[in-house]
Structure formats: C-alpha cells, structure tokens
Symmetry: C2
Subunit: 216 residues, 2 copies
C-alpha cells in the first residue's frame, strides 16, 4: 500500500479500490505528479448534472491553486464551497501485451477531493497567481507586467487543500498470462514523450528569447 508516515489522511472516498497495488498515498509521490503536469480536470456537480472542466493550476505547499475569470460559472460555483474532485493525469506510455485483454497504459494520476476556498486578500492573490505562473513556466513572472488592480478584481483565485488525495501509478512491462508468452507478437512499452517545440514569436514581438525558452 506504500503508506508512509508522511501520508495524506485516508478517507473512504480517497481509497483506491481497483488495483490497490497501484495506489500511493505518500505526499512525495502526490506532489511530484502535481508538480510535473500542466493541467487538471475539475469535476463538480451542478443543477444540470456533473461537469468536468480542464484548467491550469499551481501548487502552494499543501494547496492546489486554481484561477479563472470572475465571470466563469465554474469559478463561481467552486467559490461557494461545493464538493470538488480535481484529477491530474500524466500518460507515460502504451503497454502492449500479447493478449488484447492485458493491454494497458503506464500513467501517474492524482485525485484530490475537497472544497475550494476563495483567496481574497490582494497580496495573497498576487502571490498565488505568481505560483501558478511559475508552475507553468518558471522565471516568467519577473519579466511580465504584473496584474493591475482591475485585472486582479476580474480574476478569481481559489485554493484547494491537498488533504484528501491519492495517487495511482502504473509502471513497467505488460503482465501477460504465462501461456501467452509463446505468441509471436511484439510486446513491451512505447513511451510517450512530451516536449516543448520551437517557440513561435508573436508578429509584434520585440523581446529577445529568454533563457527559459532556449532549447538545450
């Protein structure tokens, strides 16, 4: 079960039921996944049923930071403190087995349950937006024009405590039935690789390419 002293509290809804050997409850694993991905999928219930919306995020210690337009229905719903489930998924590879049945994917995912809280204080809001920006592209914040008071007012920023959370991780080769190993078909893993491509300057760009965008 990989539970450590530094585990998040285990509530009923956060326990991984299917394939529990893939479950991780330690903060290190959960935070590493959150720190690597760019977007989360936010699920909540509305009068019209469940809704799942993709959005960027950041992590401030034990809180996930989400932001959006103050006019966004999602942000308005979440500001009210409704139950929310936020899921972050990284696809690592296709797992190709000898049987159709044992095909799988290697992935790392985190599911967080809780209620989001509004960040209203100006300095705290600014700091949360900086964390979000730095999460997505490090060292950018100091280069750009900071939010004006009007822009800050037009932006809703929420924190979601990472208290009720679990990770699920599949790694490694296919797990075929013993008798299928004699089937003459290629079996193994095909990794996914996500990289940043060559930057495309805006047609009115006047700035030099910053260090954080230079290809190694």
């Amino acid at each position: 079960m990989n539970e450590t002293q530094n585990a998040v509290p285990a509530t009923k809804r956060v326990r991984v039921k299917r394939l529990p050997d893939r479950a991780r409850y330690d903060r290190e694993t959960i935070e590493a996944i959150l720190d690597e991905a760019f977007i989360c999928h936010v699920g909540f219930n509305t009068e019209h049923g469940p809704v799942v919306i993709p959005t960027g995020y950041g992590r401030d210690g034990n809180n996930l930071i989400i932001h959006g337009s103050a006019a966004s229905q999602m942000l308005r719903d979440l500001s009210k403190g409704v139950d929310v489930c936020v899921t972050v998924t990284i696809l690592d590879g296709l797992v190709l087995a000898r049987s159709a049945f044992h095909h799988s994917m290697n992935y790392r995912s985190v599911v967080i349950f809780g209620k989001a809280e509004l960040i209203t204080e100006k300095e705290e809001k600014n700091r949360a937006l900086e964390i979000l920006s730095e999460h997505i592209i490090r060292d950018r914040w100091k280069d750009v024009r900071p939010p004006s008071d009007k822009e800050l007012k037009a932006t809703t920023v929420l924190r979601l405590p990472i208290d009720e959370a679990s990770a699920k991780v599949r790694v490694g080769p296919p797990k075929d039935d013993e008798e299928d190993h004699s089937i003459n078909v290629w079996a193994g893993v095909v990794p996914f690789e996500t990289t940043l491509g060559a930057p495309i300057a805006d047609e009115r760009n006047i700035g030099a390419l910053p260090g954080y965008l230079r290809q190694e």
Copy 2:
C-alpha cells in the same frame, strides 16, 4: 459560433458560456479532437460527491466507447445510467503574453454530457473493444490474442452517445492590451509536442517490431 448544419443539438448545459468565440459545435471539430487524444476524464456524482477518473476510450461513429473491469466502481455506477460528463483535452501550447493577465494556453477540448449504456451482446462487445484498441494503436488488434469468453465477461463496455457535446478551442498568438506591446519581453507561443519514444521490448519478447511501431 461556428454552427453548421451538421451541429450537435445545443442544450443549455452544453453551451459554452465563457469566451463563446472559442466554442465549436460542429461534428467535424468534435470528432477530430476525440480521434486525436488518448484519454478522457469521466466525471459523475456519487454518494461521496463528484469523482473524476481518467481512462482510455474509442469512438464508434456517434458513440464514445469506454471500458474497464466489471469490478470497477466507476463502470458499475455508469452502467446504471447516471448522468456523466466526459471531457477530452489536448494541450497545444503555452501562450506567453506581455502581461501576466493575458497568459493562456492553446488547447482543444470536448465536453460530452449524457448517460452511458451497457454493451452486452458478445459480438458487439468484441467490436467495441476492437474500436477502442484501434483508436489507441492502429493495426494492433489483428496481431494479438483476442479476448476469451472469461475475459469478455470480466470487462464492462459502455457506449456514451455523442449527442450533447461541445468543443472549445484556443489557437494563435497572445492577445495583449495595445499599450503593452511596447514592453520589452518575448511574446509568442511555445508549442507542446507529444511523440512516441523508442519502443522498449519486454524481456521475454520474441516478436519482431511491427510496422506501426517503427519510427519514421
């Protein structure tokens, strides 16, 4: 609004409210996004609140195909015909503006609302699994051992009609305020590129690398 004769029916919950100029309701756009991505995020409500789970999928004409273990709580819940929201997101790039406020991402996403239906008939179930497999890795199905009756029984396969659906698409450069264009900072788009890496053969692999895994 990009509505065409071939648009999906527009219900209240499916209308894109925020930034409606990014909305697309035509089947061509919706299907192209669904056909390109590998995983979806499935949201539904439970007695413990909303849950969002990542999973693979396929598309059979006007139906999304989802599958999983018959023992999975998600599949059991969805089989009952509860309301579900399935979201597919492709990240295309980071949009770097002159102001923090106008930073964004280029993306293509689809949101589908509806109720899933169980596929029970054996031939239909097999065909749905083949479609799912071919969606993820084309030409693989014919090479592998097909599902046994026991494996088919252990697998739940669902179809979700793509009737209530919308896409949201952001493309192109940053949209800065006119007065910010004189700020001396690089502005533009950094594309994301997801590729398949070099295949890693299983240690007991005896098959030759198939054509669909050879790097161009």
